[in-house]
Symmetry: D2
Subunit: 440 residues, 4 copies
């Protein structure tokens, strides 16, 4: 019996034994009351059994019951306002480090300790990620869950510390039960079944790397797909083609990150992507000495929504840009792309959007641009007509972008972007996106 299944079996038996102590699980048990018992008593078998029971009942609940539980978790577990008041008084009177730590400790939201205790049950971590996924969904209409979401994010940030992650290369020697997760999670360029997966993990010029957390060894957290090529690609179809010729990896000079997928909605706000890209770059540089550059082939998901909204474009787009947009077929559904998808105006609009449209808190408005620029990459090229799919048309009229990870400048770029919101772009793009006088 391997270690991991040993512990799982043992925990299940302890849980089962505890279950006999706590009696039949009542279908409609008050889950908040159960959690109060879990936190206040130290009995471990019964505590494990109660935790497992709460998680199971929660998972089976409808949204009303879930919302009631989450609201209770957010509000009914302290801190004790009186104790907190006393701590504040004490701190204000002395400003001692100990007083400050007491204050920190007493002000901890009680739900955090509940979540820690629930996590002791076998398999609990995945359940808690699901629970936070619910919080993210339900908080839109239930503002009181906003605070609970902060609690989850903070705790998960500690548990999923980068130091605990494992990077694994995923290839065709990986168990099917793990491989199928990638089929499920891939959102950017979907896998069309197992044969497609095989091409993208098994071909000598394709790679897939993922981060795992040791407590969930069969659940990827994030993964990136890489194509090894002879040049910077300008379109996605040749990369995904079924019948393409494969390139011996030793002959590749370019590594292309053509898809990055976060798998765990429940870990939103806890960033692994930058770390993963940098580890993959290091791994590939070590293995393949011929690689000269690392680029992405990325979507521009916010382009069209931005450009079609007159409020955004105002002052940035010129009348001929607006005219060009008007000429584009809104719901194109033909084969390939219409001719206008390659008009120079479209490249200019994309350049303006990427280099000059900003988000309120600063930085590039486009989320993918924000991610790569924040990592220190440079906006390298704009590729109209790069994505002939329907989704690409709906989001960006088929435009895709290359970001370049150049390790000589990556830290400098990162600092410039982080501190000043400076979008580092190639001169060609800077020229395309430059404000210009319209003639006539």
């Amino acid at each position: 019996m391997p270690p991991s299944s040993m512990i799982e079996g043992v925990l299940r038996r302890i849980t089962a034994q505890g279950r006999s102590l706590i009696g039949q699980s009542r279908r409609n048990a008050d889950l908040i009351a159960e959690c109060k018992t879990i936190v206040s008593t130290a009995g471990q078998a019964s505590g494990l059994a109660r935790a497992r029971d709460v998680l199971d009942q929660y998972a089976a609940a409808n949204d009303d019951r879930k919302l009631a539980f989450l609201t209770g978790l957010a509000t009914q577990f302290g801190p004790d306002a009186e104790a907190l008041g006393a701590c504040i008084d004490s701190y204000l009177s002395g400003h001692s480090p100990a007083g400050m730590r007491d204050l920190h400790q007493v002000s901890e939201p009680g739900g955090v300790e509940v979540i820690r205790r629930l996590n002791r049950a076998p398999g609990a971590t995945a359940d808690l990620l699901s629970m936070r996924t619910d919080v993210l969904r339900l908080k839109r209409d239930n503002a009181e869950l906003e605070a609970l979401d902060r609690d989850f994010r903070h705790l998960f940030g500690s548990w999923f510390n980068l130091g605990f992650l494992e990077m694994r290369r995923i290839d065709w020697s990986v168990p099917a039960e793990i491989l199928e997760k990638f089929i499920t999670y891939e959102a950017v360029h979907e896998f069309r079944g197992w044969e497609d997966l095989r091409r993208r993990v098994g071909a000598p010029d394709r790679r897939l790397y993922a981060f795992f957390h040791p407590s969930m060894p069969a659940e990827p957290l994030i993964f990136v797909q890489v194509a090894l090529t002879r040049d910077i690609p300008r379109a996605i179809a040749p990369i995904l083609a079924e019948d393409r010729a494969t390139l011996p990896p030793q002959e590749a000079n370019t590594a292309v990150f053509y898809s990055i997928t976060n798998c765990q909605e429940g870990l939103r706000g806890i960033a692994f992507g930058s770390f993963l890209i940098k580890q993959v770059v290091e791994q590939l540089r070590f293995e393949l000495e011929g690689l000269e550059r690392f680029v992405t082939l990325s979507p521009v998901p916010g382009l069209r929504a931005w450009a079609e909204d007159p409020a955004n474009a105002d002052g940035l787009l010129a009348p001929r840009h607006v005219a060009a947009i008007a000429a584009l077929d809104t719901n194109w559904a033909g084969e390939g792309l219409p001719e206008e998808a390659r008009s120079p105006a479209l490249s200019e609009i994309a350049a303006i959007y990427l280099t000059r449209a900003t988000r309120s808190e600063g930085g590039a408005r486009d989320p993918v641009a924000h991610f790569h620029l924040g990592n220190g990459a440079r906006l390298e090229a704009i590729n109209p007509g790069a994505d002939t799919g329907r989704r690409g048309w709906a989001r960006s009229w088929g435009v895709m972008v290359n970001y370049l990870y150049d390790f000589a400048s990556i830290e400098r770029n990162h600092e410039a972007y982080a501190n000043d919101g400076a979008v580092i772009a190639s001169s060609a793009i800077r020229r395309l996106g430059r404000p210009r006088k319209e003639r006539g």
Copy 2:
């Protein structure tokens, strides 16, 4: 290349690459300044390199330099008193949950974030455990480290959540590099070399179970040693004897926990022992249906120090007890034990100590008793003359104790002890420890 070594290799290369960015490590770098840079910048390669460098320099430092670093870590990283003051004002004005969370967040000691960032470096977790071991040692003379110790304990408590631990059975098929850790760590009944280890992990009637954390797969956190026997043992020597006959496990009716060892001083205050014992009990019950009882054979480390101090004994010990103590050889160094080691008075003294001597915060004074009673075990038997070693004489005149883990009553016992400090003992021990009128 297995996943774990893959990540380690990659991290080392990123670290090395970052090292070239941050320049030569200066032998006498200001480690606190380095940590400030780590926290304030987002560059990952340089951040990893700096973190690794800080940990390496710290590890090589002398106590003066260590103390300076730790003191800086405790005091120079906030929180920002002004921001905290503003948060307090805001909270006091509204008592909102968000305000309370802001308060909690702002009051977080800045050292905690430093430790989180340091942990991203390859192999950092073990270094951070060592760092806390230093804190525990140095805080005795440096009270300002007390607060830092709390920070470590809190953070480690989150990282080493019971849900993340792995229990493994350690037997003779385990790699030597892991086995030797047990030789190093075992403190209760030392291993006399590899042959002794082999007897205690490889014999069919002996077991050793340990907890591991997935980020330190070769470092046990805690382990317990078990003997499978036909009866409750009354002495330790037969269990450790080189030439004893082994018992087919199917014929055993008793599982004896004869040694429990915490390996990581740096995890002091984060309790795994109770959880481990309960998991081992479940595992053994599953495997061996003949087992009828689970007991310990435990030392009584505080007995003699307590009994020889007149201040303690006053009112609890009778004159004949005091006389019996006086008759015991203080520095016995002969073969075996002197005859007085088996005097009935000694059993009474031990019973009085274990059932009636309390610690200031309540509960049994003896630390081993406190641990097992706190787990819900029952004080089952007192065994004078059980430990013929010199250490046993120095600590308890050779007395050892059996605690019984009886699963029908364990939760009830635990509650009674936790809430009322009630020491659950067998009737024989209760009789021995009962206050009694001295005649004459």
Copy 3:
């Protein structure tokens, strides 16, 4: 680096190094001359390189070149007729055991030693299995290869001794690169893609077990598929249905072997099936105490060819059987089966075929019957209309059969069949197959 890839890498390097010794591989090298060099010299690096080269060139050769090589292998490597003559003389003069062994040794066909030497090259075993597959194909028109086939079979019988095989359960946790082999090899009831595979290895009431040889850890030799059911199944479709309800394994009372596949044509004549079935039975009995019987659901591949040939049926089939056969649609291609597929006459014909049609060397004429009866199974039930597929119609008008593995009688049945060709069948089948007077 795991042991297996270590050795492979080392061997490849030795081979490469040897290659530089033996010079460029000539496209049209005389492979027989190469083999003579391999056998006659002891240089190991060069020997490995030559062996690898011979195997590679052979694999790339067309049938003419292959045939030339195989013929050379069969005829040009001795034994030395003169030496053999001398040995015979010597043996005849003394009949000593040593003389007999000399005779045995000298008479060994020289190709056997060539094959042994070729097997030292990295990955050679799989190549040699392919080579024998060629022999099996080519010997049909080239009788001189018959002897070489005997040599291969004898050597492989030694290498693939049952004591060296590993049985593994194949489930969804197995690497994809191994799982896909089963899709490739399954011949009885083809896998319709990965989802179908998943149902047949991943469902709780389905099992797949395979034998592997340690020198080819990713290549199954033979596998069997098992369904756990409540009753003896009478048709195959419900077992393979996509949308069937799964049965908790604990509730199953019957284990059904519904497909047995030999994967390695190159191992023809070396029997693993009986051993595999018996190991699977033991494994399942150990795991699932509720199992009461072990049966197959098997095709009757030779039924129709036998029954439609008047020469066979003569004397065994009655006129009404012949009439029933004439009424059956030869090339049925409709949905499901025609009504006549369930006529009682068809069951009788099948019973007569299975219990009374014999092969020239004795034993049941049907190959599947011969296999299971030879293992000691009992012919239990005949199921007309059990296989609605086109192949089933072509081979047996849709008839399938259950063989029962009853461990109380299996050795006795086996002996009776092996010694006397006695077909052990249920009384119902005996009745159906009984010779009977036709009325009128």
Copy 4:
């Protein structure tokens, strides 16, 4: 349950089940009769049980019973003299390849098939190796076992084909149950306990590589120990010293094979050593680019026995050599070595022995020299005073030798030695060993 333990468990259950079929094992069963049953019947469960039973009873038998069994195995299982006679007649009449193969098949000693059948039992291979070890021992006084030994060697040669072996590096991460085997088997320079083992497998400048057969994954077949050094070592003590300074492997220019050990007496005559050395050389060359040469530091086990026997020395040794020998202390038991151990005459005697003393069948008389010269190594240096141990004194007055594996000439050397018995030696040694006129 991992595959290997799965199969073992299953086999044990089948065996147990078969045991109930064959009834109680009789303490004094006629093992030869049992083997006859095993060979003549096809029942698999009973066959396995019988095989296991024969192996167990054999292992427990005394030498008389073992000898009776082995003699029976050698003589009572055919071949059938009549059938063989018929085959011979048939072959002589036609000399057809098929006739020759029939002859080969019919002349196979019957014991070979018995051994193949016995090997199907769980764990049988190791038992059969032990059985041959007995044969090797007993055949000295029982010449009729000589033939059986040939049968074993031939069969084992097929099973242990080099293509099936796995090379593994043994370091401190290896399970203790495997590591301890090396302590048991090492004969050349014994391990003085676990700490010594640790130094010799765990130090960065020490290596240990072994061959394993997949059917005995915890049993090494042969292993070699390597020291990485700056120069060719002239003595063994510095290599084995407890307190030596370790060398970073990147700084080593020499790899020294200082011990080669065959572990399985039962595989005598089946040579793995040359193959292992060459694989280790390749592995080290791949890992460590700084290595410039590969040498041994080897004993000269036959030197003294040869030199002290006047019959041998006659004509090769000069009078002053004989005088030098007479001056050497026969039973030296002091510290270190006597002064005469470094006399120039001793080097000459060793050179004469190694280059000019031959075995009757040709080649160097010294077995270690024969092994390395046969591999193509060159006799490089003679080191008087290299081995200060008592065994070294007894065998070679402390002389040790370096053989050089030079890959540019290894195949040529090998051929020269194999074909002509030419001992390739450095010019210095050739000079030392040259026949010379004695003055006066």
